[in-house]
Symmetry: C2
């Protein structure tokens, strides 16, 4: 049984050209005193090509060892490879390791070439290489982020393999975040946050959250991967939303690095170094995962993507901005809570139901084994009036309600729809909400904070101001 | 079908006591200004207990997803869980992450407690924590080592899952070593080696190997994991040899750190930090894997163990000493070469053959499909005279020869033997050869090098002298 994902001659040509061009770009940067960001672009192109090909080549092997699933929203319900996020993750991590010398390149070159000693206090070591000016703390940050991402990939694959229970898997990202948090503790330990404008008379300008800050970081790390993981279930949505969010954060990063000499430049450069290759591997996966899916991404991808966002948000000190790009996911998570907390019954799968006759997706439902308590029933009826949930009643008792996911809510509102149309709409909403989120960040933040980071004057710069 | 590995009440009691004592030890170190090495011991004890229990608990889950194998050297050939090295690796990595603050603890405490400012040039940062004196390059080393070990674990599991071909899997450790080598390149770049005494008139005291040094490191990283992986096949041998080698290196490290103020102290401390927890998880695995095995370790363990040794050897700059602890593996690898290079036919499995009637292991054989070339035949006959190989001839032509592994050679020499006796003998040889290796290192090294590292006088200390 052969996989139906084959590389066409046109794609071969395109990928070869891409890899050639990217290799040339990397070589140019390596030889000249070039921008690491250009090298990152080059690596991302190669990572795209590698991911595209590896997914084609490894499909059958994945199916053989049991990484496979049926697409329940198709008429033929054929079996396709799953857990392809693992391929993405491995190629991504490999890319990030090979890219590593580039952001630190200028420090190596300036100290070994011997030309133009700008810094007279530089300590020459016996090897002729300067260790003093080397930004080792940045290296620690970078490596700890990779360790966390790799741990997340391992735990994601373990989840796909062993089907870990919901209440356990919720905490897998917290475990994966430990390397990053431990290194943060050892290496930086900045736990001050800027207090909103109107609270400053009571709390002062800076507040030291101490251990609370680590808990906050752990919560961000738990939220992002799980938020993506529960906003999933139709072809292309997991990867699509990740691509939109990554693009939004990249746009935000570009805003910062385009301001010459902005104090947060290095944090946003780091974010770009992590997100551009992520975009590369995700785009390749998306081409295989978009409607009609030829491969599934697995929990591995959702965890991995979410963790990438958490990592850049935490290390770049813009986790609040990050959460503004997660508005649909935040809504979906909040809307799902009654089911996740088992206030309303929660079936194993909550994805929309496919009607093979019409080829459309319908809102799926959860069945009440016993009638809900009066207070729950009243709330559900109220929500039903607001068209926020669909109820099915029998003899005056609620027997079924639509599953509480943003996807089902969308179908309740707009009626049954083709799968690809649902994905398009939801991704459109994601684009819109990211735009609104970033607008809020830069235009309305002045209402609560003394100044927007982007227009931070150099004189009043205080590093801790970026701490959240 | 339940796994036959259950924790007895006596073991429960022992493990609870152990974990309690170790937690107390860690707490004491954390509170007082204690030795990180004591904390490492505490973590190792907990890692031992965790590994022991997790292997019991996860056996059935591993079998369910296909990580299982038959023990061909037993009469009942029952199926037991495989790839248990993955459990070791995950617990080990987790331990190493949680242990991370301890070796860097003194730098945190001294700079935050404010008491006893010994170093007046210390730069205070805005957070009240000193970043200047923090050994970030050590942190980079540590994290890159963990990244390499984690990569090795991932590739090991991938190998166990997908059964990667021999000629490909040979290079998996080289891929896993990349994080460590890249960070070495970025961070240290010391590529000088001390030239042996008698060659110094021609080459000078130090020789810069440049790229050659990276190739050398990659070769060490390729050798160690593969050497353990091909010296395997009977119950307990993989873990047993790793325990012996780890103990030998630990003993060597202790020699160094017991010399007050020895310049290599920090390198050997790092080695201890990596090897003591490794010993913890390996001992727990060994209890389940020793004759008669209740679980198999999988290629994952062999790769992971070998990579741990490669990492400490490379980062501790004592890779030559390391190789002296690998004498049986070196012999086995050299002896295997004719089969690995397909000069002599190489069957898929070369482990000794079990005779169910006698319950003894016999040397297994490889069959010649066509008679060997005259020069090969002559060499084989010569080796046969020296009792280094067992041949079976028919009509004057060689039709079979014993497989070229140290294990088969042992059985050729000493005749069929019970499996547990073979393991004991081979491990005994390992102990002996490690002792000889370390003796050679410290007593005979003076013949080729101007001085033994251990008795290095402080005055003549040159960091590059440890580079190999």
């Amino acid at each position: 049984m052969s996989s139906n994902t084959e590389i066409t001659p046109a794609w071969h040509l395109f990928l070869f050209t891409l890899v050639g061009a990217c290799s040339g770009l990397i070589y140019t940067v390596f030889k000249g005193d070039g921008e690491p960001l250009l090298a990152s672009l080059g690596f991302s192109g190669i990572a795209f090509a590698a991911t595209y090909c590896m997914i084609c080549w490894l499909g059958d092997a994945f199916k053989r060892v049991g990484f496979k699933g049926r697409d329940r929203s198709k008429r033929d319900q054929r079996e396709i490879p799953e857990t392809m996020g693992a391929v993405c993750a491995v190629i991504y991590l490999f890319t990030m390791i090979l890219f590593l010398p580039f952001p630190f390149y200028e420090y190596l070159v300036k100290s070994t070439s011997g030309g133009g000693n700008r810094d007279l206090t530089v300590e020459e070591t016996y090897t002729g290489r300067t260790l003093h000016r080397f930004p080792h703390n940045k290296l620690g940050e970078y490596l700890s982020a990779l360790l966390s991402l790799q741990s997340m990939a391992i735990l994601g694959v373990a989840d796909d393999l062993f089907d870990i229970r919901w209440r356990h898997k919720l905490f897998l990202p917290a475990i994966a975040a430990i390397p990053m948090l431990v290194v943060y503790y050892v290496d930086f330990g900045v736990t001050n946050v800027v207090v909103p404008f109107r609270l400053q008379p009571y709390l002062g300008q800076l507040l030291n959250l101490s251990w609370g800050y680590y808990i906050y970081m752990a919560l961000v790390a738990i939220f992002c991967p799980n938020a993506i993981n529960i906003y999933a279930g139709i072809n292309g949505l997991e990867v699509g939303q990740s691509i939109v969010v990554a693009s939004a954060i990249i746009a935000n990063d570009m805003l910062y690095i385009s301001v010459p000499g902005h104090p947060a430049t290095s944090a946003h450069l780091l974010s770009l170094y992590f997100l551009v290759p992520f975009l590369g591997v995700s785009l390749a996966l998306w081409l295989h995962n978009k409607y009609p899916s030829k491969v599934f991404v697995g929990d591995t991808y959702c965890y991995f993507a979410g963790m990438t966002f958490a990592v850049v948000g935490i290390l770049g000190h813009f986790s609040k901005t990050l959460l503004l790009c997660f508005l649909p996911q935040l809504f979906n998570a909040a809307y799902s809570l009654p089911q996740l907390l088992h206030i309303v019954p929660c079936p194993r799968h909550r994805m929309p139901k496919f009607n093979p006759r019409t080829g459309l997706l319908h809102a799926s439902t959860a069945t009440f084994k016993s009638p809900p308590r009066p207070v729950i029933a009243t709330i559900l009826r109220l929500l039903s009036k607001l068209r926020l949930v669909q109820l099915h009643e029998q003899d005056g008792e609620i027997v079924e309600c639509s599953n509480l996911t943003a996807m089902n809510l969308f179908l309740v509102h707009f009626g049954p729809m083709r799968e690809d149309r649902v994905t398009e709409w939801l991704l459109g909403i994601q684009v819109l909400s990211c735009a609104v989120g970033l607008f809020v960040r830069h235009q309305l933040a002045l209402w609560v904070f003394p100044h927007d980071n982007l227009r931070f004057s150099m004189g009043s710069f205080m590093p801790a101001a970026e701490a959240v």
